[in-house]
């Protein structure tokens, strides 16, 4: 039964018809770019001597944090919805009763969901690049390489968070639980763990350390914070991560959560 393309289209249909999810994701991705650049522009207009233009190299760097978090959250929402919507709506039983392979049922959610997510990420990226150039105010603008690296980082970040959200939601059979856990991890958990120097180089395995390594301008020696042995005696807390290692870690997260979601979908009683 070679039904892969229609099944991917069906997954995309289920997601794109969720108006609330679509608007919320768009608001997060495009809104974060507009909000960051709007605030930076206001600062610049209020005191141009103190605050540089919203665009240019400086603005490009400043807007990455909020844009990254917003893109990750949107990816988690879309992924978790894709992973749990069949089970939560009760439709999974009807799909399983068609005799279609359950592994295929689980795997087609990935391209189906990415069809929903990636255009939104590209829209956000387009807005950010436009803002970087339009609001540069005569300051230097990022190179083509930096723009490409940024695009690669954004897509990797999106795919990672989408697949983790999808796999966890399928595993837990709940969108709400998966979103709750992953938002907590993205906004707080990973950031705290990344700064605990006791973990040393094990922190390379953190998804946020790995994705941050892919940001334009990041180097193998990543400074995660400061390590203080006594008051006033602090040194930068550095871990060493190559791009290859970061990509391997990201791939590991994607593979582990995908396998978990597929296993659950294939073995659960319907």
């Amino acid at each position: 039964m070679n039904r892969v393309i229609p099944m991917i289209n069906a997954e995309w249909l289920k997601l794109r018809k969720r108006r609330g999810l679509t608007w919320l994701s768009l608001l997060l991705i495009a809104g974060s770019v507009l909000l960051t650049n709007g605030i930076l522009t206001l600062y610049h207009l209020s005191d141009s001597a103190k605050y540089g233009p919203a665009g240019g190299v400086g603005g490009f760097s400043n807007s990455q944090t909020l844009f990254g978090i917003a893109a990750a959250l949107a990816a988690i929402l879309i992924g978790a919805t894709a992973g749990a919507q069949d089970v939560e709506s009760g439709v999974f039983r009807s799909l399983a009763a068609t005799g279609q392979s359950r592994v295929r049922l689980a795997l087609v959610r990935i391209p189906g969901g990415l069809l929903q997510l990636i255009p939104m990420l590209l829209l956000g990226y387009g807005l950010e690049v436009a803002a970087v150039f339009l609001l540069a105010g005569g300051t230097p603008t990022p190179s083509a390489t930096d723009l490409l690296v940024e695009l690669g980082w954004l897509l990797t970040l999106g795919v990672l968070n989408f697949t983790v959200g999808l796999g966890l939601a399928a595993l837990l059979r709940s969108r709400a639980f998966a979103v709750g856990i992953l938002v907590a991890w993205e906004l707080a958990g990973s950031r705290v763990i990344d700064r605990l120097s006791d973990f040393g180089n094990w922190r390379v395995l953190s998804s946020t350390v790995a994705t941050d390594r892919l940001l334009p301008g990041a180097s193998n020696a990543m400074t995660l914070g400061r390590e203080c042995t006594a008051p006033g005696a602090c040194t930068p807390d550095i871990v060493t991560v190559s791009i290859a290692a970061a990509l391997l870690v990201i791939l590991g997260w994607i593979v582990v959560f995908t396998i978990a979601g597929v296993w659950r979908t294939a073995t659960q009683e319907a």
Partner: protein
């Protein structure tokens, strides 16, 4: 559609399913012939839905075997389900999608032909005009009809419908009955699980009764009704005289009076209605009606299931299992 009516649509052999210590199904030997409306009757919690889930390979049986359309389940599940449509428990949908889009979701898993059949099946269940509305706005009856439409997408030889009449109004139930008979007329089998005895009696040709996980009886509906013994219903002119005469006949084992005024006589196995008529007429009793008395399905159902509630009959070591008296209508 060309179907060999001698084929068996579904069968189980010694099927058992346990949930921990609880036995949900025990030694079920079920045969669903092709081309009939098959009623699966049982009180709530009897194991009907578990049996259906085992048939569809949605849950693994603990013991025994299942065959669907000639293929073992779950071993050859994809082939077995290729021409089977099913609604298990209440039909569930993506509420944010329209009826048509919900069918597209399922047809995407089946075939291009199934997608092309969407307008036809929507028309067949009377949902064409509401097909573009979100399912969230559908009544339960409309969801039931959409569930049946979903079953029909793959042009099934066997439809398995779990409590399909729940939520239907009387007109909807009648339409459903007509639809089922039309599907059977096309050579398909329709397995209907229900606790609505009256509707099963009106719709089905063959009935299986399941209680506490045990198949108590499987038979053609007519055979099931007749299985209550050699009884005849008699309407007479003089009730007192008739009862006096009947009381003197050795081969009339018992006489009961119905609310309608008819006498229901239980005869010895070798006695006939003709002999009874002759005896009454010779005794100057006017006979205006004489017909075989068949028990209603409800009566047979209650007979069969209430007997199971007696402690001596609930032993696991000696489950009551009905013989297959006759599985063709």
């Amino acid at each position: 559609m060309n179907v060999n009516s001698s084929e068996v649509a579904a069968s189980t052999h010694n099927l058992g399913k346990r949930f921990g210590e609880r036995s949900a199904l025990r030694d079920i030997d079920l045969v669903v012939p092709q081309g009939v409306a098959f009623g699966l009757l049982g009180p709530n919690g009897a194991g009907k839905t578990t049996l259906i889930r085992c048939l569809l390979g949605l849950t693994r049986p603990t013991s025994g075997t299942v065959e669907l359309m000639g293929h073992a389940v779950p071993g050859e599940r994809a082939a077995a389900l290729a021409r089977v449509g099913a609604v298990v428990e209440e039909p569930r949908f993506h509420d944010h999608l329209s009826g048509r889009e919900n069918l597209r979701i399922v047809s995407a898993l089946l075939s291009d032909a199934a997608t092309a059949r969407i307008p036809e099946v929507l028309h067949r269940v009377g949902l064409s005009e509401r097909a573009g509305d979100r399912v969230a706005s559908y009544s339960l009856g409309m969801r039931q009809r959409l569930g049946i439409a979903r079953c029909l997408l793959n042009d099934p030889l066997l439809l398995i419908l779990d409590e399909p009449m729940n939520g239907l109004d009387p007109a909807g139930i009648q339409e459903f009955r007509i639809l089922v008979r039309a599907l059977v007329g096309e050579g398909r089998s329709v397995l209907i699980s229900s606790h609505l005895l009256d509707e099963i009696e009106k719709t089905c040709d063959v009935v299986a009764i399941i209680d506490r996980g045990v198949l108590v009886r499987q038979a053609a509906l007519s055979a099931l009704r007749q299985a209550s013994g050699n009884q005849v219903r008699v309407m007479v002119g003089d009730m007192v005289l008739a009862r006096a005469v009947l009381g003197r006949i050795a081969w009339v084992q018992s006489v009961a009076v119905e609310d309608s005024g008819a006498l229901v006589c239980t005869l010895a196995t070798d006695a006939t209605a003709a002999a009874l008529n002759r005896t009454l007429v010779q005794a100057k009793v006017d006979v205006s009606l004489l017909e075989p008395a068949s028990a209603s399905l409800e009566q047979r159902f209650l007979d069969l299931t209430t007997r199971l509630q007696e402690p001596s009959n609930t032993s696991e070591s000696a489950p009551r299992r009905g013989a297959h008296e006759e599985v063709r209508a």
